[in-house]
Subunit: 171 residues, 2 copies
């Protein structure tokens, strides 16, 4: 048996976006404990010319959303990047998860032959299979881990367990 | 058509470990240009209580190696964590890639029912499918991105394109 694309992208993104939300909540608690505005974290960066936390979260959400729409050959709803608070970022994550959960295995039938194009590379496309392996999954985790790294290097008490989330242990 | 586990893990890990090696080489060039020992990067961290670069690379390699052995129900060779130089880290990446490339689609038959256990959680196991989705892929990219972030925040001139590597564009 091979994994379905649905399991692969919807299951991974849903899990990991939930973990991201928990990590952001720990950052909020950290800020409240130290009596500073948690929204200061939104503009925090790892390097001057990298994206700040808010953008890392927005791109992680958009990668999840667009992976599902592109592989199913459908159009994704537009989620404008207008969040200004941690609470609004939670809502962005929630609506992304609600959207990607609408997909079922059959929606991705023929995903490997979808031609995926990007506005920044006109006239070119990637095939669906290459897109999943070479772009969608690594890009999603890049932004998730960078969001984690921004908060972790700013003293928020989080660890790998928060990033990975609950494991399905059996005995 | 669904992606094979072989495509999913071997293809992703091979690509991404190659990208990691290129990123390390850019760090080496950066150090040489500025006339400092490139091996100073090996102990660089994002936070005092996080693992340094060398350990991020070793864990990324081990995650790739152990994912293949665990999902195929075989034993992996031991690669001791005794690297001391950037050049030795390249060799660690190379032998990991050589090893994971020995796997073919058939080796992962029944992967979803493999019981995956960890020495740090005795008496418990995870099923192969859950292991891929919830542990192997996110853990691999966590260490890859953290290695990138350590170098990026230390001024090495790398960007997302180096992390993602060459894309399979078609026209």
């Amino acid at each position: 048996m091979q994994p379905t694309v649905n399991e692969l992208v919807v299951e991974q993104f849903t899990r990991s976006l939930g973990n991201l939300k928990n990590i952001l909540k720990k950052a909020q608690t950290h800020a409240q404990d130290r009596k500073f505005d948690e929204n200061l974290f939104l503009q925090t960066k790892l390097a001057a010319d990298m994206f700040p936390l808010i953008k890392q979260v927005q791109i992680a959400c958009d990668t999840a959303k667009l992976t599902c729409s592109r592989l199913s050959g459908t159009s994704a709803p537009s989620f404008p990047d207008d969040e200004k608070t941690m609470t609004e970022l939670y809502a962005r994550i929630d609506k992304t998860v609600d959207y990607i959960k609408t997909f079922a295995t059959n929606d991705f039938k023929g995903y490997e032959n979808q031609k995926i194009s990007f506005f920044w590379n006109p006239g070119k496309h990637m095939m669906g299979h290459d897109y999943v392996i070479s772009y969608a999954l690594p890009n999603f985790y890049f932004h998730l881990t960078t969001a984690y790294a921004i908060l972790r290097s700013n003293g928020v008490h989080i660890g790998k367990g928060d990033y990975l989330g609950e494991m399905q242990w059996k005995s």
